[in-house]
């Protein structure tokens, strides 16, 4: 699976990329802010966007909203990966069109499985 990982923290970006590539066996592209994410999603058409919330220039919620508003990127699944763990924030993410919400800190060894379970649950629904 081709995954677009949007994360502004370099450390978390490295860890998550490593986990997705080495543990999950996925191809990973990276973006460091909302606008980069939009541009990458439009050109590369990934199979999944793993989106942080707190990003510079354009935050994750607004980025997701724009992805879903654009017919070219509307169908790309989005999963939030965020330390913003309040119930209303999770609810907001889901209401914008995300399939799931993975909280930080995450276990890198189980991150790929968590993503697969979310995609499977969505496909079954």
């Amino acid at each position: 699976m081709k995954i677009l990982l949007a994360e502004d923290d370099e450390n978390i970006l490295s860890i998550a990329s490593l986990a997705l590539e080495r543990v999950g066996g996925h191809a990973v592209m990276t973006a460091r802010d909302g606008f980069e994410t939009l541009a990458a999603a439009e050109t590369a058409r990934p199979d999944l966007v793993l989106l942080d919330v707190m990003m510079p220039k354009l935050n994750g919620f607004d980025t997701c909203a724009r992805l879903k508003a654009d017919p070219r990127t509307r169908d790309i699944p989005v999963i939030f990966l965020s330390a913003r763990a309040q119930a209303h924030e999770i609810q907001r993410g889901m209401s914008i069109g995300a399939l799931g919400y993975i909280l930080k800190p995450f276990d890198p060894m189980t991150l790929p499985r968590q993503i697969e379970e979310i995609l499977k649950t969505h496909a079954a629904a």
Binding site: D9, N11, I12, I15, A16, L18, A19, R22, V23, M54, A83, R84, A85, Q86, A87, H88, E89, Q91, L103, K104, P105, F106, D107, P108, M109
Partner: protein, 497 residues
């Protein structure tokens, strides 16, 4: 009704103070009440005088009749003198002349004179002269009788006229009272009732959360003052609510920001440790792996502590937002049991659960109640030796409805056969950073906030939590959830663990 309302408006009665209206009504009734005894006394006196006059006339006319009858027999009195009869005639004449004087003085005097003439001639004058004198007396007395009749008729006419006047005055007074009272009632109906309705509506709107709603009542009356006081209070409450909302929002933002700031570096730490220990970056020497496992364990503990501290901060700030929905308590129990199943297996503790045939349908934030259960279950498992048992069950407690105010509730129990809790620790069991287990190992596993959070979450649901324990034998933690007592869920036992 609208015309009456318009009249009220024209008369500007809506601005008239209620106490003024009450005063006016009171003055009117007071005046009528004060005039009433005077009127009754005057009326009674007049009637008494009339009756007395009528009685006197009646007596006089009887006396005249007796006199005439007596005079008709006078001849016989003279033939064989009956002095008693003659003295009675004298008395009757005296009575008639005295009474007749009130009606006709000249006739009364003439009668007395003529009777005097007859008496003088009574025995000595020739019969015809005596008879002529008697006839004169009879004639005069009949004249007086007629005069009395005329006077009586005039008096009755005056009485009738007076009674008619009294009736008219009574009707007018009654009408005045009725109009006054009606005006008073209508003034209240069209002013006080709408004012009160406006106040009640404003109070209800405020209660429903419309903090901008104000009571609109025309100025001038006491209800306007009440409405003004209500509006001031509403404004004050609105300001305080807005300040409180702002404070809550700031607290919530703070909690959210702190949560994010703490979790971000912890993500890097946990993530890199996970990759290293998972072998992704290559083989790790055993001793290095052991050290890294200690780091990972404490990182996880730190993460739990961050979660718990943020939860407790939210509970204490009143910033915790629960998402209420109906759930089968059996489902919730079952899911929580599944969550700790692996922990129980790892510690070789038997984990069992049970619930009534009819699973109550409760209104809860499912995630939070599961959090409470997971906390109680993981504590129970941690403090139970291998081979021991942790049993979770619930019971439906229906209120008797006997007016005691007790509510139906569901009780959830987590019972273990662990080492129990010493009595000296029971009082502070649900306080922050209190841990009954003095062993360093167990203390390191927990944050000391779990039971405080459980208590906070249960109380946010309107329930209670408590514990009983016997040192060396085990403990039972129980919490209650309010329940309406009538709703049950279909329990499909094959779908739950």
């Amino acid at each position: 009704m609208r015309r009456l309302k318009d009249v009220m408006g024209v008369l500007k009665l809506q601005h008239l103070r209620i106490r003024t209206r009450l005063l006016a009504a009171g003055v009117l009734l007071g005046a009528l009440a004060a005039a009433n005894p005077l009127f009754v006394r005057h009326h009674t006196r007049l009637l008494s005088e009339f009756h007395a006059a009528r009685d006197a006339a009646w007596n006089l006319r009887h006396a005249i009749q007796d006199l005439n009858r007596g005079l008709a027999k006078a001849e016989a009195y003279l033939e064989s003198p009956d002095t008693a009869a003659l003295r009675r005639l004298d008395a009757l004449t005296g009575q008639v002349t005295a009474g007749a004087g009130k009606y006709d003085v000249s006739a009364s005097n003439a009668l007395a004179v003529q009777y005097g003439v007859w008496r003088e001639r009574a025995r000595l004058a020739p019969t015809q002269e005596r008879r002529n004198a008697v006839l004169q007396v009879s004639h005069l007395s009949e004249g007086i009788d007629r005069t009395i009749r005329v006077k009586e008729e005039e008096s009755e006419g005056r009485l009738a006229k007076y009674i008619r006047r009294v009736k008219r005055a009574s009707i007018m007074a009654g009408g005045l009272v009725f109009l006054g009272f009606t005006a008073f009632v209508l003034s209240l109906w069209f002013t006080l009732l709408p004012d009160l309705a406006a106040l009640i509506a404003a109070t209800r709107e405020f209660k429903l959360g419309n903090l901008n709603h104000r009571a609109d009542v025309p100025a001038g009356t006491e209800t306007a003052e009440l409405a003004a006081a209500f509006n001031e209070m509403a404004e004050s409450i609105k300001e305080r609510t807005e300040k409180l909302d702002e404070t809550h929002r700031q607290k919530s933002d703070f909690v959210s920001t702190v949560s994010h700031e703490l979790r971000t570096p912890l993500t890097s730490i946990k993530g890199s440790l996970g990759l290293i220990l998972g072998g992704v970056t290559g083989a790790v020497p055993q001793e290095v792996a052991r050290m890294l496992k200690i780091t990972e364990k404490n990182t996880n503990r730190l993460i739990r502590l961050v979660d718990d501290v943020l939860d407790i901060a939210k509970i204490e700030a009143g910033a915790i937002r629960l998402k209420f929905d109906k759930h089968s308590i059996a489902d919730v129990l079952s899911h929580a049991v599944q969550g700790v199943d692996s922990l129980a297996r790892a510690r070789e503790v038997n984990l069992t659960c049970d619930w009534p045939e009819n699973s109550a349908l409760v209104v809860v934030d499912r995630d939070r109640i599961e959090q409470v259960l997971m906390n109680l279950l993981s504590n129970a498992i941690k403090f139970t030796e291998a081979g021991g048992t942790v049993h979770v069950y619930c019971e439906n407690e229906v209120a008797d409805g006997g007016g005691t105010g007790a509510q139906s509730r569901v009780l959830v129990h987590v019972e273990d056969t662990g080492r129990g809790i010493p009595a000296e620790f029971m009082e502070q069991l649900f306080e922050k950073f209190h841990q009954a287990e003095s062993s360093v190992n167990h203390a390191q596993e927990g944050t000391g906030l779990g039971l405080a959070i459980a208590k906070g979450l249960v109380e946010e649901h309107g329930g209670k939590i408590w514990a009983t324990s016997v040192a060396g034998a085990g403990s039972r933690f129980t919490f209650s959830i309010p329940w309406n007592g009538t709703e049950f869920a279909e329990v499909r036992r094959k779908d739950v663990a």
